[in-house]
Subunit: 243 residues, 2 copies
DNA sequence: CCAGTAATGTTATAAACATAACACGGCATG
DNA sequence: CATGCCGTGTTATGTTTATAACATTACTGG
C-alpha cells in the first residue's frame, strides 16, 4: 500500500504547485507506467480529475454539466456582456472605481483591457479573482464574512474602508429596477456596501440587462435617479434629472 | 470579419460561464466545424488556451513550464506538506481559526477534511480560494489592498475586524526563525495582522519547514516563545515556557 | 461582374489517448 | 511451499485528437 500512497501524495503535491500535470509527465515523474497513474487517478476521484490526458485537481463541478444554450439565454449572458461593453466607455484609465458583485459586472471586469491602469474596489470573490490576473490593476477587496450565494464578502469593515477611499466611478448591479419602487437586489447584506459606495462616488452607473426593468426584489438600495445613467444591452439612458 | 468576431465573443462568453468547453461542444454550439474553432482558438492565444481538445481561458502561465522536480525540492514543498500534516492535529472541528498567508499553510488548507466544520479567518487570496470550495467552512476574509508578492490583502480594517473576533487557534507562517532574533517574514504589511491574530488567539502555532530555522528575514513579528508550539516536517516542538 | 483573397469546410493521415485483456512478480495466508 | 490475490506492466485494439493539404464558399475592391 505504501508505494501507492506515496504516489498519490506526490501527485497531489505536484498538482498543488502546478494546476495541471500531463499523464505522461506524471508517469515519468514517479517512475511508473502511464497505466498505473491512470489507475491511481481513477481510484481517487475525490482528489483528481482529468481533462483528456491532463490530470487536474478534483472539484470542478462545472465540467460535468453540459453547456446548455437555453441556460445561457436564461441567464441573459449576452445581454449582460453587451451592457458591460457599453459600461466600459465610462471606465476612465487611472481612476479609482467601485465594482459591485453579480454576474453582470464580471463581464465588465473581463472586458477591461490588459494595459489599463486602474484602482478597483470590490467585494465579490469572482470579481477579485479576475482582477488579480490583470497586471495593471491595483485591487482593494472589502473583506468580511463570505456569502456563497453572491460570492461576496460582507461586514462592517467593508463600509468603513470605503469611507476612507476617494472613488471616481461606481458600477452597480441590481436584480430589480422599478420606476416607482426603485432599485433592488436579492441579498440584504449587499445593501450597506452598495449605499456607501454610491455615496462615496463622483459618478454612479447602474449596469443590468433589460429583463431587470420593472422587477422588484427584496432588498431596496437606491432610487432610479440616484444614478447618473442606467446602462443596459440597448445602451445607456442618461438620468440624474435630480441634480 | 463580423461572423468570426461573434464566434470568439460567444466562446469567451461560454468560457465565462463554464471554465472549460470541449472543442466538439464549442463547434456544435456555434454551428461551425471543429477546424474553424481550432483556428479561432489558435488565432487568439491571449484569450484562449487549450488542454487537449478542451478549450480553457487564457492566462495559465503554469501550463507551459515543465514540472521541475528540483524546483519543487527547492521550495521544500514536501517538508511544508509534512509540517501541515502535523499541524492538522491542532485544528479542532467547530472552532474559529486564523490561517496566515504563505505557501506552507495552503497545504494545511488542502488537508482540511471536507466534512470538518470550521470558521476560518484569513487574509491571503490563495487560502481563501481553497476554502471557498469547501462546503463546511465559514470564511472570513480580511480585506485591504492586494499585495501580489504574498497574494495577500493588507489594510487597517483587517486588524480592526480581527479585534472583534474570538479566535481559538492561530496558525502562523514565517520565513525566518531564530532563537535570539525571533520570528520574521518578508513583507512588512503582514506584521500588524500577524500580531493582532496572535494577540486574539487562545493558541498560537508556528508552521514552517526546517530550512527556515536559523534564518532572519526583514520583518520581525514575534518571539519564539510567543508560540505554543513550532511545527515542522519533523514534528511539533512544544514551547511556551513563558506561561 | 470578376479576379483575388480570406474564411470555412472536408478529407486523409499520423499521433495521442482510452480501455480492456492478459501476463508477471511479490507476498500474504493457509 | 503452494495458492491466490494485489499491484503493476504490457500489449492490442478502437477511438479521439492534431495537422496539413486541398476544396469550396464568401467577401472585397475595382
Amino acid at each position: 500500500m505504501t508505494a501507492k500512497d506515496r504516489r498519490i501524495m506526490a501527485l497531489s503535491l505536484a498538482l498543488a504547485e502546478r494546476r495541471v500535470i500531463h499523464l505522461k509527465e506524471a508517469a515519468a515523474l514517479m517512475l511508473v507506467s502511464e497505466m498505473t497513474v491512470r489507475r491511481d487517478v481513477a481510484e481517487n476521484p475525490d482528489l483528481f480529475g482529468t481533462l483528456g490526458a491532463h490530470i487536474i485537481p478534483a472539484g470542478r463541478p462545472d465540467l460535468e454539466a453540459p453547456y446548455a444554450i437555453d441556460r445561457a439565454a436564461e441567464s441573459h449572458s449576452v445581454a449582460k456582456r453587451q451592457a458591460s461593453i457599453y459600461a466600459l466607455r465610462y471606465l476612465q484609465p487611472d481612476e479609482t472605481v467601485f465594482i459591485d458583485c453579480g454576474s453582470t459586472l464580471t463581464h465588465l471586469v473581463d472586458l477591461i483591457p490588459a494595459d489599463t491602469r486602474l484602482t478597483v474596489v470590490c467585494y465579490a470573490f469572482n470579481t477579485a479573482d479576475r482582477l488579480i490576473a490583470k497586471p495593471n490593476i491595483t485591487l482593494i477587496l472589502l473583506g468580511g464574512v463570505y456569502h456563497p450565494t453572491s460570492a461576496s464578502f460582507a461586514g462592517a469593515s467593508g463600509a468603513d474602508t470605503l469611507s476612507a477611499l476617494g472613488i471616481n466611478a461606481a458600477f452597480l448591479s441590481a436584480s430589480g429596477v422599478d420606476q416607482q419602487r426603485g432599485v433592488s437586489c436579492e441579498q440584504f447584506h449587499e445593501v450597506p456596501i452598495k449605499r456607501k459606495a454610491m455615496q462615496m462616488a463622483q459618478r454612479r452607473y447602474l449596469v443590468c440587462d433589460q429583463s431587470k426593468i420593472g422587477r422588484v426584489r427584496p432588498a431596496h438600495f437606491a432610487d432610479i435617479d440616484d444614478f447618473d445613467a442606467i446602462i443596459t444591452e440597448t445602451g445607456e439612458m442618461p438620468l440624474n434629472t435630480k441634480a
